[in-house]
């Protein structure tokens, strides 16, 4: 049953060294504040899962939290590279990073299989691609009915999944709106689920088909207004595309990156004191 906790307690209790940790949110609702808390608590040897590592994994990898990454697209959308991810893969800095890479279709299916309690996902994927040669988790399976060769990948079953959402009601039920990505799947596939929300309200005020996660499939909820910044929270604040562009220069250089993290994450005065909308670092 969902427990309302402060962000630092939620992370301290549910994210441990060596865990497999997913932070999902497809461009939208990326749980930056939670990722920053993991960095502040200096978690190590994590296996990180995200379809699109984005700036948050660039930051976590650059700060040495991860030893392995499972992903499907590791760039800064519309801008270019994730320089800290590249430095880890190309030069082993700050630590070697093992990677397992998929396509989006396969990762989406792996999440769905995890939520469905299946050991693997089946898709018509990777045809003619070299990815199966470099990722031993991509295999083939024959359809017992038609004989078709299909791709199989293991289900995603993290120790803990962390997502950001718009709101929770006082009972701990959570509403996710807009681009819903794989958030529901990630929460249901994990052993533990931590959710940060913009606000807690009396009524979720939903429609019958809304994406609502019931309190009893969530372990902890932390209220963190602005917790998805510089990504966005539909209905609350827009994606800060300017910051996404500025990140390129910050992350390109090891020292500039370290200074930025020190000033804006490590020494932030409160858990969600990252630079807010409109301000640049």
């Amino acid at each position: 049953m969902a427990e309302f906790l402060g962000l630092s307690e939620a992370i301290a209790r549910h994210v441990h060294d060596g865990d497999t940790v997913a932070l999902e949110g497809f461009t939208h609702l990326i749980p930056f504040a939670a990722g920053h808390e993991i960095i502040r608590q200096r978690r190590r040897e994590l296996t990180l899962i995200r379809m699109t590592p984005d700036l948050i994994f660039d930051q976590m990898i650059g700060m040495g939290c991860a030893s392995k990454l499972i992903f499907s697209w590791g760039g800064n959308p519309g801008v270019g590279s994730l320089h800290r991810l590249r430095d880890a893969v190309e030069h082993g800095y700050p630590a070697p990073l093992e990677i397992l890479e998929h396509s989006h279709a396969a990762m989406a299916c792996a999440w769905e299989a995890g939520a469905a309690g299946l050991p693997m996902a089946v898709l018509r994927g990777y045809v003619g691609s070299d990815l199966p040669r470099v990722n031993p988790d991509i295999r083939t399976i024959e359809c017992p009915f038609t004989g078709e060769q299909l791709a199989a990948v293991p289900a995603n079953r993290p120790d803990v999944s962390i997502v950001h959402a718009q709101k929770a009601d006082r009972a701990g039920n959570v509403l996710i709106e807009g681009i819903i990505g794989v958030q529901k799947e990630a929460v249901l596939a994990a052993s533990r689920a931590v959710i940060t929300v913009e606000e807690v309200v009396d009524e979720l005020d939903t429609h019958p088909n809304a994406c609502v996660l019931p309190a009893w499939c969530i372990n902890a909820i932390a209220t963190v207004p602005g917790g998805a910044w510089p990504s966005y929270s539909h209905g609350y604040y827009a994606r800060n595309n300017r910051f996404y562009k500025e990140w390129d220069a910050i992350a390109r250089d090891r020292d500039t990156f370290a200074r930025w993290m020190e000033d804006n994450v490590i020494n932030a005065s409160s858990p969600n004191a990252q630079p807010r909308a409109g301000e640049s670092a």
């Binding site: 959308p77 890479e101 279709a105 070299d130 004989g147 078709e148 819903i180 909308a277 409109g278």
Partner: protein, 280 residues
């Protein structure tokens, strides 16, 4: 599925090679086509098409935004603009499983970092996989967009860095290392596969696969572009079609609409309106 380029009677006189590429790519999309739009240049072309000759083109993005009509070009494929202007937004698993793998997409439209003689795409890395010289973002939606859409268009700037004899890594299948990969598939797989890359649109020319060898050949040169320019910008011994055409120049209307769209977009992404006010 036939594109309906605007007449050339009002051809623009002043346009860049990049604009020529975008306009030509936009003209490839017919009205009513369902198009799965990749990140970058394809989005520019697809949204230009929707604002000119193809108002009913159906644009879907991997973020789950179905039939979207953005007023500005999104920076990422998951900007709020795409969701705000979509007919509906579905989950990412639903997008890939039902809408793409389920066979509802006419055209996949992708950019790439490298493309080779047989239309294979590499967005994974330059060099060796375990010791990459340059690590690129990876596959994303591309591997399945390229095989599960009925056909694939690619748009990318022409240079020897991009147009290579053989890609370092096949992230996304064109026609395979020998041009035969799609012909040699198990029939049960082949039955569900699209035709592969049917058009590659660059800032110099249009390339299409040779019907027999599947090798990409130049079928149309953009106005003012010479064969030598294309030869110099291509990393393999590029061939030209016997009936080599000249690509129609952009119309003044297309150039106006494109510039207006880009101006609005640049203003949006650098301005304060993207900076955190309530979006709805």
């Amino acid at each position: 599925m036939n594109a309906s380029p605007e007449t050339s009677s009002d051809s623009a006189h002043d346009y860049t090679a990049a604009e020529m590429m975008t306009v030509t790519a936009s003209r490839a999309l017919g009205n009513g086509t369902t198009c799965f739009v990749g990140i970058g240049l394809p989005g520019e072309a697809a949204n230009l098409a929707r604002r000119t000759h193809a108002p009913d083109v159906v644009l879907v993005y991997e973020s789950g935004t179905l039939q979207t009509r953005p007023d500005i070009l999104p920076l990422s494929i998951g900007d709020g603009e795409l969701c705000d202007t979509a007919l509906t937004t579905v989950s990412v698993p639903e997008m890939f499983r039902y809408w793409l793998q389920g066979g509802h997409i006419d055209v996949g439209f992708l950019g790439t970092a490298q493309i080779d003689r047989y239309g294979n795409l590499n967005t994974t890395l330059i060099g060796d996989y375990r010791e990459p010289k340059v690590r690129l973002p990876g596959g994303g939606g591309a591997p399945e967009i390229a095989t599960n859409s009925r056909e694939l268009f690619v748009t990318v700037k022409h240079s020897t860095r991009t147009f290579v004899e053989a890609v370092d890594f096949i992230t996304t299948l064109g026609y395979g290392r020998d041009g035969r990969a799609r012909d040699n598939l198990n029939p049960e797989t082949a039955r569900h596969m699209g035709r592969g890359p049917t058009r590659v649109i660059t800032d110099l020319c249009l390339l299409e696969p040779d019907p027999d060898s599947r090798e990409l050949i130049v079928t149309s040169l953009h106005p003012g572009v010479t064969r030598e320019q294309v030869i110099e910008a291509t990393g393999w011994e590029i061939r030209f079609a016997d009936a080599l055409a000249t690509t129609p120049a952009p119309s003044t209307h297309e150039i106006e609409v494109l510039r207006e769209l880009k101006k609005r977009t640049d203003h949006h992404h650098s301005g304060t309106e993207a900076s955190g006010e309530r979006s709805s």
